[in-house]
């Protein structure tokens, strides 16, 4: 390699380092103001906070996480909301995480939600079958595409948050065995679609 090429590359390396430093020094606006509006009680539902266990704490790191049990009618749901603005890598494809926890994804189907769609996962482990629903929400649109979420977060990083609000991951699971009629979810827990 010529000396000139080395100088150019060295300058590019320094520039890349400075850019990385600059981006780290500018904090991105997060979704906490939206998540803070998530109602804990309302007409037909109530909730209580659930502490994160040590494994969850290590996985989520600096990400801001809400974990609650919501009771709507006779059903209880575990709701986890992850704002990955402070740790984007805490937001994974939930299907990947469930597989990592030993579950097999026996089926996937779309669920129409206000402002878009979520995804219902049918999970199986040791003869047990459960379901979970997840979606990504920026407060206006809801979708269940991890690649779109990556794109949204990457664009937010590149534009210092100017490309749009932070997407959060919402995962809902019925507490205990069995499956729920997920089409009723917006009516049972409207609070989940208001932030």
């Amino acid at each position: 390699m010529t000396s000139r090429a080395q100088k150019i590359l060295f300058a590019a390396l320094i520039l890349a380092g400075l850019l990385a430093l600059a981006w780290d020094l500018v904090p991105l606006p997060d979704a906490q103001s939206r998540v803070a509006h998530l109602a804990t009680v309302g007409l037909g539902f109530s909730s209580r906070e659930m502490p994160l266990n040590e494994t969850e704490k290590s996985i989520y790191g600096a990400a801001q996480v809400v974990k609650r049990i919501y009771r709507a009618g006779h059903e209880n749901f575990v709701v986890v909301i992850v704002d990955g603005t402070r740790n984007r890598h805490a937001v994974h494809d939930p299907g990947y995480c469930f597989r990592g926890a030993g579950w097999t994804i026996a089926g996937e189907r779309a669920l129409v939600l206000p402002g878009g769609a979520g995804k219902i996962l049918t999970l199986q482990k040791n003869g047990e079958t459960r379901e979970a629903v997840f979606w990504f929400s920026d407060g206006r649109e809801r979708h269940a595409q991890i690649a779109r979420c990556w794109w949204q977060t990457a664009m937010r990083r590149l534009t210092f948050g100017g490309s749009g609000p932070a997407p959060v991951l919402v995962v809902v699971q019925p507490l205990g065995d069995g499956c729920s009629d997920w089409n009723l979810l917006p009516a049972q827990l409207p609070a989940l679609f208001e932030f």
């Binding site: 590359l9 390396l13 981006w23 890598h89 494809d93 990592g100």
Partner: protein, 156 residues
């Protein structure tokens, strides 16, 4: 007249930068069931490169400046977008930059996917053990591409 041999400091600095951008691999290999033992695929994939460094027949240590530039770009993208995949690409490019570009080299570079977490994500429907075997198979295929009949010096 051949230029005097110099220590490739800038090239190694870029390689270090790329390695830093890919340091999340340690976490993935430790905690993700689909990425466990991915380090073994990396070791296999790196074998021709290690051979290059210890081979006394190799030419003067030097790397392709365009590929190193691409590695810097991928590393910067990794930092700016927080997508680890770009960091892994940066590392693959920074390593591959030391080799002569050829079709065989291109296949070996493509086989770098074997040690990347994206490989496990693509094959998420398979068990962790199957993914590991496929990782090894892909890494070995890449190595074979650049290592035929002890003539690696022809490729490097």
């Amino acid at each position: 007249m051949k230029p005097p041999k110099t220590f490739p400091l800038v090239e190694l600095a870029i390689l270090s930068f790329a390695a830093w951008q890919a340091h999340d691999l340690l976490n993935a290999w430790q905690h993700s069931p689909h990425d466990r033992l991915g380090w073994l695929a990396l070791m296999v994939w790196l074998a021709p490169w290690a051979f290059y460094w210890v081979d006394k027949r190799r030419p003067e240590l030097s790397a392709n400046p365009f590929l190193l530039g691409a590695a810097i770009l991928a590393g910067a993208l990794s930092e700016l977008t927080e997508l680890h995949f770009f960091g892994h690409v940066a590392l693959a490019l920074a390593v591959a930059a030391w080799f002569k570009i050829s079709w065989r080299w291109l296949l070996w570079l493509a086989a770098a996917a074997a040690w990347m977490p994206v490989f496990g994500w693509w094959l998420t429907d398979f068990s962790g053990a199957t993914v590991f075997l496929l990782r090894l198979l892909l890494a070995l295929t890449g190595v074979i591409c650049v290592w035929p009949k002890n003539k690696i010096a022809d490729v490097l």
